[in-house]
């Protein structure tokens, strides 16, 4: 079932892709134009995706509830990190990221926090001090 659904999803994306390509026109430039190549790619992709809907191959076993929750938590941590990195500044945000990912990976909370703080500080020294990564110790939330 998963394969059929994925096939259908890829088919829709490819169809949209090939359809959109027709609007790309250039009055100047080269013989090929900007729309031919995307159409050349999109149509076989539609055909292959459709064949996966009709004749699905293979089976997929998705992770169970508990594991899925862990994955969602890890993904949330990654997105939140990207959101807050510039606000919190590198060391605080990275320490939190490392600690959360470690805990989600079954690490003991105390030690995970320790690794987060130690890891982020050493990475900050390595990248900021040695490489000159242009990021402040404290982010825009603190410095205004």
């Amino acid at each position: 079932m998963s394969i059929r659904l994925a096939g259908a999803a890829i088919f829709l994306v490819a169809a949209l892709y090939a359809w959109t390509a027709q609007d790309y026109t250039a009055s100047f430039g080269d013989v090929l134009g900007p729309s031919v190549f995307p159409v050349m790619v999109g149509i076989p992709a539609m055909a292959l995706a459709l064949s996966l809907v009709v004749f699905p191959g293979g089976t997929v076993s998705w992770p169970s509830g508990d594991r899925l929750l862990r994955q969602a938590m890890a993904l949330a941590a990654l997105v939140v990190y990207a959101l807050l990195l510039e606000g919190l500044g590198f060391p605080i945000a990275t320490a939190a990221l490392i600690a959360v990912v470690a805990i989600v990976l079954d690490g003991p909370p105390g030690k995970s926090l320790l690794i987060g703080v130690a890891g982020s500080l050493s990475l900050w020294v390595l990248f900021d001090q040695l490489l000159g990564l242009p990021i402040d110790f404290l982010g825009s939330f603190f410095t205004g």
Partner: protein
């Protein structure tokens, strides 16, 4: 003679202090990355690329570092295969079959030494092959016109999934998804923005490096979270580090056979180290399994796949350097780095930047010797480092990936792109759609379109130009034959499967 003078040039490049230091670091880090379950050559190399940019290394230095890591991984993968029964990376899967039983029988020191020596022989055979054949292939490729390159890319996409096991439709679909992603951004010929949704962030297209780190590092984290990590068997303890010379010598022929088979598998587009190991093992089993000892701790079953995967991984560099079409996932990632540094691999690379090509080749000879030393007398160090638990290592890897990607353009937009590609990579891998063709499509898409453009503007829009030269016709025929063969094999397997039940 020409080769000798080229090699002399190469060694003069490779012996520069920075290059030597990177080589040593790469060998050490690579062995460690290979030995850690969950980290393999592809994600190891992908994570390191943004860091090489941050350090401001030039193409030669970066390539030397990444190749050393790549080779180191091939050596390191066997350590956890033998001691933990968990392959350290994908190509080391075959090594578990006889390596772990040997370790259970108290032969761990022998198994590690055999596989170390086999890795050395395999890699050496392939580097000699690289020295001899890569320049020849590059010279032949000079005659390729734009239409021939277009045909070559079509062939690379069709064949990269390899022959056995995978559904060829999924492989092709993966390549097409990669090509679709590659067209995002400003069209290089006409300047029209395509598929940007009006976002200026996407005008430059998707940075392949950002996509790669997401596809490999972040999706690996998702896979790691899916498995129960806690219940992992303890590593087998070693009673002695001293191997027996007699056992090692007994595997000499298995090693040589494995090295040759692996090399052939590596040079073929898309086969790569994993297939090299599988082919070496199964051929060795057919040749030597007289008393049904394979799978129960036969030393030859350790030597053949280790020689095979090392030799295949070096062989895969040949099409990458001389044609610009990588032979495996890791070489595809290395190609991404070269393209980002404005180095276009292909036949002209050998003429324009001989110091890069031959510096790399010379470094590989030296890396191989360093790795043998690291992996025989110093093996105890790696087995101790392997005991570091996953929950403390993986978060650091994730953090380093984020810093690396952020440092490319100092924008958090790239971080979202990376996470999105991580999810995409995870879902595709769950659906059994391999990522290597996607990466190849993403990397070569722009070049493929450009070659099509060039061919058509030469012919004034006549599509007949695509099949006008015998080179392109031969490439299309080879592609068709390959696809027919893989579909036939797939149908045969499907017929066989119900019969076996």
């Amino acid at each position: 003679m020409e080769i000798l003078s080229s090699l002399a040039l190469g060694f003069s490049v490779a012996l520069q202090p920075l290059h030597l230091a990177l080589l040593l670091f790469g060998c050490f880090a690579g062995t460690l990355i290979g030995a850690m379950p969950g980290l393999g050559p592809v994600n190891g190399v992908a994570i390191l690329i943004p860091l090489t940019f941050a350090f401001g290394f030039d193409a030669t230095a970066s390539l030397i570092l990444l190749s050393a890591v790549y080779f180191g991984c091939m050596y390191g993968g066997r350590i956890s295969s033998i001691l933990l029964n968990i392959p350290g990376d994908e190509p080391a899967v075959m090594t578990t079959l006889d390596g772990y039983p040997m370790a259970q029988q108290g032969q761990a020191a022998n198994a590690l030494a055999i596989s170390g020596v086999a890795s050395f022989v395999g890699a050496t055979v392939a580097i000699v092959g690289l020295t001899l054949f890569a320049p020849l292939l590059a010279r032949a490729a000079i005659y390729f016109g734009p239409a021939d390159y277009f045909a070559l890319y079509v062939m690379a996409f069709a064949t990269i999934g390899g022959l056995a096991g995978v559904d060829p439709r999924k492989t092709l679909l993966s390549a097409l998804i990669g090509l679709m992603i590659a067209t995002i951004g400003l069209d290089p010929a006409t300047g029209i923005p395509r598929y940007t949704g009006g976002s200026f962030n996407l005008y430059d297209g998707i940075d392949p490096i950002v996509a790669l780190v997401g596809l490999f590092a972040i999706s690996e984290l998702m896979f790691l979270l899916e498995r129960a990590i806690k219940d992992r068997d303890a590593a087998i303890r070693l009673t002695t580090w001293i191997p027996e010379a007699k056992v090692i010598l007994g595997t000499a022929w298995a090693t040589v056979r494995g090295a040759v088979v692996g090399f052939v598998a590596g040079v073929l587009p898309g086969a790569g180290a994993s297939l090299g190991a599988v082919m070496s093992y199964s051929i060795e089993k057919q040749v030597s399994n007289k008393n049904n000892t394979f799978g129960k701790g036969d030393p030859r079953g350790v030597a053949a796949p280790e020689a095979g995967n090392n030799s295949a991984s070096a062989g895969a560099l040949i099409p990458m350097l001389s044609l610009g079409v990588p032979g495996s996932g890791t070489t595809a990632v290395m190609l991404a780095m070269l393209i980002s540094l404005n180095v276009q691999p292909g036949p002209l690379l050998f003429e324009r930047q001989p110091d890069l090509v031959w510096g790399l080749v010379a470094s590989l000879y030296m890396a191989n010797v360093m790795l043998l030393i690291l992996n025989l007398p110093l093996i105890g160090l790696f087995t101790r480092l392997m005991a570091i638990p996953t929950w403390s290592l993986m978060p650091l890897v994730v953090a380093i990936s984020f810093i690396g990607v952020y440092s490319i353009s100092n924008s958090t937009f790239d971080l979202y792109v990376m996470i999105a590609f991580g999810v995409l990579g995870y879902v595709l891998r769950k659906l059994d759609i391999t990522l290597v063709p996607l990466v190849l499509g993403l990397l070569l898409g722009a070049d493929m379109e450009n070659n099509l453009r060039r061919a058509l503007s030469i012919s004034g829009g006549d599509y007949g130009v695509l099949v006008a030269s015998w080179i392109s016709v031969a490439l299309y025929l080879a592609t068709a034959a390959f696809l027919a063969l893989s579909i036939w094999l797939g149908l045969r397997d499907r017929k066989r499967a119900p019969a076996a039940e």
